[in-house]
């Protein structure tokens, strides 16, 4: 059992949980994730780690309430327990002194991007950060990210704040010498960023979040084609070279269970959408 020690709502439907997990907290590095289960009948879902505090013995998770499990998770309060959290899983991000790093984060993945930005700064990099969301109300960690970055930009899909869309990235990439790009966010965003940097030959690392079950290399639900080879995002990733990822396939694979996900969410609502236990 893992006790929730703090809870915050960062934006509508985007929540932060700080959870007591002392062993995981001492081992967590940016880029890794956990697999958790909210109840005995629950599914195993991956959530990217956003922070850890070895002294307090806690880890931080940020998630968007989109499906049944994240909705149930969002109903839990400070003092409640999460029955199962396995982690840290996946390989830590490569953090070293690259020079100038452009970090692009979208939606809920801005949270783990902040974890990376912080580590990249500590490693002596100059960091340019771009955060984006569908609409301005869904932007999270704007202040924190801005404070940590040498240069900072905001983008929204509808233009309600900052730039509209990601086209402006081309200007940044054209003007400046950039040694590395790191992108975390929806697959479509990862694809867009990778397509922009590929002709420029800038190494671009993308964090993939495909469907997973065990998250430990056993099932292969998360398989993705990278440079023509099948990789498991859970044990070979979750970070991959964005110029080598077959995004079209990934996008299709992520939609595999859409009807079931809708049914599951509906089932949750029919039962009143109430807190467990």
């Amino acid at each position: 059992m893992y006790k929730i020690v703090a809870k915050r709502e960062l934006a509508p439907k985007i929540k932060l949980l700080e959870v007591s997990a002392p062993d995981i907290a001492t081992k967590t590095s940016p880029g890794q994730f956990v697999i958790l289960r909210v109840c005995e009948t629950g599914e195993r879902i991956p959530i990217t780690l956003v922070d850890s505090n070895a002294e307090k013995g806690s880890i931080t998770l940020v998630f968007n309430e989109v499906g049944k499990t994240t909705k149930q998770l969002g109903l839990l309060d400070q003092g409640d327990n999460i029955p199962n959290i396995a982690g840290p899983l996946g390989n830590p991000s490569e953090i070293q002194r690259f020079g100038t790093v452009l970090c692009v984060g979208g939606g809920v993945m801005i949270a783990p991007l902040l974890f990376q930005v912080s580590a990249l700064r500590k490693a002596g990099n100059e960091v340019i950060t771009v955060i984006g969301a569908r609409i301005k109300d869904l932007l999270i960690f704007e202040k924190e990210t801005k404070e940590l970055s040498e240069e900072f930009y905001v983008a929204t899909d509808d233009g309600s704040k900052g730039y509209q869309g990601l086209d402006f990235l081309k200007d940044i990439l054209g003007k400046r010498h950039i040694d590395r790009v790191i992108a975390m966010g929806p697959v479509v965003m990862l694809k867009t960023v990778s397509e922009m940097t590929k002709p420029l030959g800038i190494k671009t690392m993308v964090t993939l979040t495909p469907i997973m079950v065990d998250g430990m290399g056993m099932c292969g639900a998360c398989r993705v084609t990278v440079a023509g080879e099948t990789k498991f995002a859970c044990v070979d990733g979750p970070e991959f070279d964005g110029h080598q990822v077959d995004f079209e396939q990934l996008i299709k694979r992520q939609k595999m269970y859409l009807p079931e996900e809708r049914l599951s969410a509906l089932f949750h609502e029919r039962l009143g959408g109430v807190k467990l236990g």
Partner: protein, 471 residues
Amino acid sequence: MAEAKPEKPPVQDRWHAVPMLKQEPKVRAHNFNEVALGYTEEQALAEASRCITCPNPGCIKGCPVELDIPAFIKLIKEKKYDEAILKVKEKNSLPAICGRVCPQEEQCQKLCAMGKKGEAVSVGRLERFVADLELQKGVAALPIADSTGKKVAIIGAGPAGLTAAADLAKLGHKVVIFEALHLAGGVLVYGIPEFRLPKRIVQAEVDYIKKLGVELRSDALIGRLFTIDDLFEQRFDAVFIGTGAGLPQFMRIPGENLGGIYSANEFLIRVNLMKSYLFPEFDTPIRVGKHVAVIGGGNVAMDSARSALRLGAEQVCIVYRRSREEMPARLEEILNAEEEGIICKFLAAPIRFIGDESGWVKAIECIAMELGPPDESGRRRPIPIKGSEFIMDVDTVVVAIGRTTTKGLETTRWGTIVVNEETGKTSLERVYAGGDIVTGEATVISAMGAGKKAAKAIHEYLTNKTKSTQK
């Protein structure tokens, strides 16, 4: 309970085994309840009476854990069921599981004296009978030796780890099992389906092992959460690695990542561990279409095919590159699958998967095979026949061509750990290993045998060390 009938008409003579009741094929093909229903007391007594208690029994030699089979069967004959199960548990901590999933026909029963003229005594069914009887009545814990003050870490709560843990706990060592998944049991919970091994049985046997004082830590993936060095820092005196062969193999042919194509591991993990056959009461979904192809010929292929049928597939076809004779699955499981209506396409292998616009599999292109001379496995090697390609329309595929291991320590070219066969000792000091991580994919009972050997070696190491430090 579903309607049941004997698997064949009972013949009342000593050369024939008492048949066990099974659910009717037509009924069981649509439910996840256990297929084989077990012996009644009367049947168990009749079967036990067939054992002639040989002075030099072959059955014990055939058992990887050296169970004293004639002794426990003799106790059944005397209706001393409590004593019979205690006799079994002297050597085997998971009897209700072994009674169900051991390939007895290849082990104890193969060497049974009765088998020379007639049918061997049904050792597995009798083991299951006494084990189930005890589970119904409530399990009595065996006596445990005084604490030795030594601590052993077991990595992986599968058959090897659970057996090693039970043996070491009985000898008075403090044992902690680290399990990566949320449930203990390993392949017994994620791999073998409910209809062959009900999960309440696994849970009951895990509970028994906990009663012996074993501590179970789930959600703990060793290598990530703790390293083996961390475990020694946490004052464990020895480590046993029983992490199994959990990595699915794929065929590396075009289209393998289309939707609707599962590794057998994913398919069975969803069905068994996550109980997706109860979706949406359980959250994890599974998608099974009308025409399912299962690639492979082992027990895992049989389990996948039979699960697909139970999940509502109209037609399930096993595609195997050799012929029926070379199938590695247990004959009993092949017969069960055939009875339920599973079709087998022999001497064929997929060469590519074909998808629709949405990225879902819609067909397999296969090539026909013929059998050449035997290969290193002793089975005849399949050779593709030029120009024999054909298309099979499918909407779901399960790839059951075997599992491999994660890497670590001194490994073979298959990624398994190199150990001393007698002791399970690895190239690292105080680290032992056993089960599929050493042998590659094998059976539950051979993993248990390896767990037992390692437990014995660890015990000897720990007690000798105590003596030498006392000097």
